[in-house]
């Protein structure tokens, strides 16, 4: 099913998907508050997330539903789903199984920090790889 042909009814009608049928979804660690990742959702993935209690995104690169952890085992258990004031961003508060959200083997996708002199800053990797990605996606 294409992202833009998903029927939208009930609580889903309050969610404003973009012209491509997608909106950004943020995953935050429910316990620590750490920002884990941002991915995209269509109506079908949001509906399945709500029904199953596990994070399901829409993979733009693969053009299909992406049940987070389907390959890595690093499933996200969803404790809470929130919607922002404009209705166009979803926030998930999750329990990250395996403690690794990022495909690089790190806890969070936001592992690069802007550091250095204000006139010449650089992106510095500040978070460690917890598990070799080759072992995650074997």
């Amino acid at each position: 099913m294409k992202p833009d042909t998903q029927p939208v009814t009930g609580w889903l009608a309050d969610v404003k998907f973009g012209p491509d049928g997608l909106l950004p979804a943020i995953a935050q660690d429910a316990a620590s508050g750490a920002m884990l990742m941002v991915a995209w959702m269509n109506a079908e993935s949001l509906a399945e997330t709500a029904a199953s209690g596990r994070a399901v995104y829409w993979s733009r690169s693969r053009g299909r539903l992406w049940r987070k952890g389907e390959e890595s085992g690093n499933v996200q258990i969803v404790n809470e789903i929130r919607l922002d004031c404009d209705g166009d961003v979803i926030l998930l508060k999750v329990e990250q199984q395996g403690g690794i959200a990022c495909h690089t083997g790190r806890a969070s996708c936001f592992f690069r920090r802007l550091d250095g002199a204000p006139d010449a800053p650089t992106w510095t990797t500040v978070d460690p790889v917890l598990k070799d990605p080759e072992l995650i996606y074997k």
Copy 2:
């Protein structure tokens, strides 16, 4: 200046803006970890954010730079700028002046939570209005 005509050099070259010249930027409270809001940035707004230490977004509705707090006074002091693994989402860790990020007068834009029976959930407003928006934007 249009979003897609901004020159991109140095650290900005690692940031992948979308076809429209924009990417999502997440603001998180630096102290509490609370998710505050998501807005959009072009290269110019990100460069000014880094240089000034205050959050500057691109307002899609107004088609211009949006210096957060320019009307409300609720400026965001930026403690940290992070980039995700794909280079297409920015995370700001901020000190939210006035304690209000949302135009509805709430601390966070994510004040609606999906509650109720799994087969018929509804969005419930769970966070209070801290200040009447008419007093914020007077």
